[in-house]
Amino acid sequence: MEILLVLGFPLLGAALLAMVGAKRYAAEVSVATSLATLLAAALLVLRIIRHGPMTAWNEEFFIDPFNVFLVALTALVGFTTAVFSRPYMRIEASHGRLTPGRLRLYHSMYQLFMAAMLLALTTNNMGFMWVAMEMATLSTVLLVSLYRTRGSIEAAWKYFILCGVGIALALFGTALLYTAAEDLLGGEGMGALLWTHLNAVKGQLEPRVMGMAFVFLLVGYGTKVGLAPLHNWLPDAHAEGPTPVSAVLSGLLLNVALYAVIRCKILADGALHSTLPGHMLMGFGLLSTVLASFFLWRQRDIKRLFAYSSIEHMGIITFAFGMGGPIANFAALLHMTMHSLTKSAIFFAAGHATQLSGTQRMDKIRGLLTIHPSVGWGLMLGGLAILGMPPFGVFTSEYLILITAMRDHPWATPVLLVALAVAFGAIFSRLQPMVYGDTDDKPLPHSPALVPVFIHLGIVLMMGVYIPPALAEWYRLAAQLIGG
């Protein structure tokens, strides 16, 4: 029931906004929809906490601690982003970068995107998961190309082709999965694609087929996670799309894609009886972290900068999942949460910063503290948080990941530390001059919405020093599910 609500609200909203999206109150409608989704998600969470994992609608949907916490996270960030994009888009419009028609497209596609992600998270059917991922891709392609500038078109096209091809590979992986499972679960009906069933029999799945399937799924969904060297679409898409979209791309879509990868990894682990999938993930993770941290040094565009930092953090999370084990999984899940909260907060602040100075070039953005202190502090604190500075929660997860790495794979620790240090130098040296110093920019036409920024950072800060036991328990359950 709750699932229906969770999926229904955004779909309805998308349909509604497709009609009224151009009206003045469209943004409020969007916010209301997201709020409703959030409440539904909260209900769902309550139900899971009370009754434990559940399947619904003849097993087409499956909710366990792992995905329900992602559902909650997605709904939350979706809501705050909607809140943020209300004034942001208004300012964009008053800067004359958007027409009402585009706004309509934006609002409806935004809701559709949310629906797609929630579907991908909640479904139990690997096929549907694929469908949902494709849906998310399509909707975001339209969002990225919203401004219709050369840059945005190019970015969207690259995004479309790379992720489209990737997704296609994932589909083939799914087909192989089906092949492997068919003999055990019977081709007729749906059984062979239901994750729960697959998970039940994963031990007997044909290893070679599963290995191949996992490779295709990993490359397919990994493209959307932004794992190097499949990441090339990510910075362009983040930099050229409207900022709220960058926020949800970084904050949510990457998580969802990673979620898909992990679901597949669980199966592959069971089938292959080897650490192969884990090692693949660790390899991707390390490569992404290191490459991204060096990419950071050459950035001039603020949104590109933080896009690369997303790649870096996705790399860290992937590495952690690759290591597996209760602590590493716990840390990875925690890091997912922390990263999406922090990164979206940063993008909110960065978005307003670009509006203040009228450009995304970092050497043009100056003196945020003097012209608009809250934007400045938001950016500074967010930046420090994402760099893993205590007492922010990102440090917590990085700390756990590092000590686990030290125990299980000592050789990897120095690599990670070097990457972290390089990233620190790169981002912080860019951050400081933007926040400090003097400026002659003019204040914004509408007052910016920085409440979301500080809500996110507040949560991150709290998680740094105190993780509520319920939440911790929840993470622990999810970590157990992932196992490895």
């Binding site: 059917n125 096929g127 849906m135 479309f160 296609a168 799914t174």
Partner: protein, 221 residues
């Protein structure tokens, strides 16, 4: 080991045809002919699907065959034809690497694909699974085609032939995906092509050509 009946032999023959077509697409320069080849691919796909359905007595495969016919043979090519005429792009377009090299690489890919599928086909329960190698080969070849072309339009065609390869793999190796899923996939594909269409216009109005060499401004330096 079920007896190798007529249908399966035909299916395997069709699989060969599919492979042939994808090689042809790899070599083909003219967008128009590419499109025709794509249609042929669709036709082969449909027939093979029907045959599989007939041999395995699976009703839902008939539906999916119908769906394929509708989508891959009629609707999509139609859209693409109209787009092509609107945008006036029948001109030649040279691949990034010259054709013989492409052929060579393609050959290696086929060998690789067969090698890859070999263990699976070895313990295949249905004869049809033997075609898995070919399916993989088709997929890799279309991938190669996508990355070897420099026109947006051809990339789309490559993308579609990739989809065909996937579909072929799905039908032959597993008697098709569950119906609902296939519907979803079909829907996605349709939307995708629509969006492609939209994009062609955007690209053209921004870059006044569909040449992908234009789309190289976003990069690190």
């Amino acid at each position: 080991m079920p007896p190798v009946n007529m249908a399966t032999q035909v299916v395997q023959m069709l699989a060969g045809a599919l492979l042939l077509i994808s090689f042809a697409m790899l070599a083909e320069r003219r967008s128009r002919r590419l499109l025709i080849l794509l249609v042929w691919q669709g036709v082969v796909l449909v027939t093979s699907t029907v045959l599989v359905a007939a041999s395995a007595h699976l009703t839902h495969l008939y539906y999916s065959a119908a769906l394929t016919l509708l989508l891959k043979v009629c609707v999509l090519p139609l859209i693409l034809f109209r787009l092509m005429r609107k945008l006036g792009i029948e001109r030649d377009n040279e691949p990034l690497v010259n054709v013989p090299t492409l052929m060579l690489v393609g050959l290696c890919l086929v060998i690789f694909a067969f090698g890859l599928a070999q263990p699976v086909t070895a313990l295949a329960t249905t004869v049809l699974r033997k075609t898995l190698g070919i399916a993989i080969a088709v997929i890799l070849l279309s991938f190669l085609m996508i990355l070897a072309r420099r026109k947006a339009f051809t990339q789309v065609i490559g993308f579609l032939s990739l989809e065909n390869g996937l579909f072929f793999a799905a039908t032959t190796t597993t008697y098709g995906m569950p119906m609902v899923v296939e519907l979803g996939m079909a829907l996605d594909l349709l939307v995708a092509v629509f969006i492609f269409g939209i994009f062609f216009f955007h690209i053209r109005e921004q870059f006044d050509s569909l040449d992908l060499d234009q789309l190289e401004s976003l990069k690190e330096d």
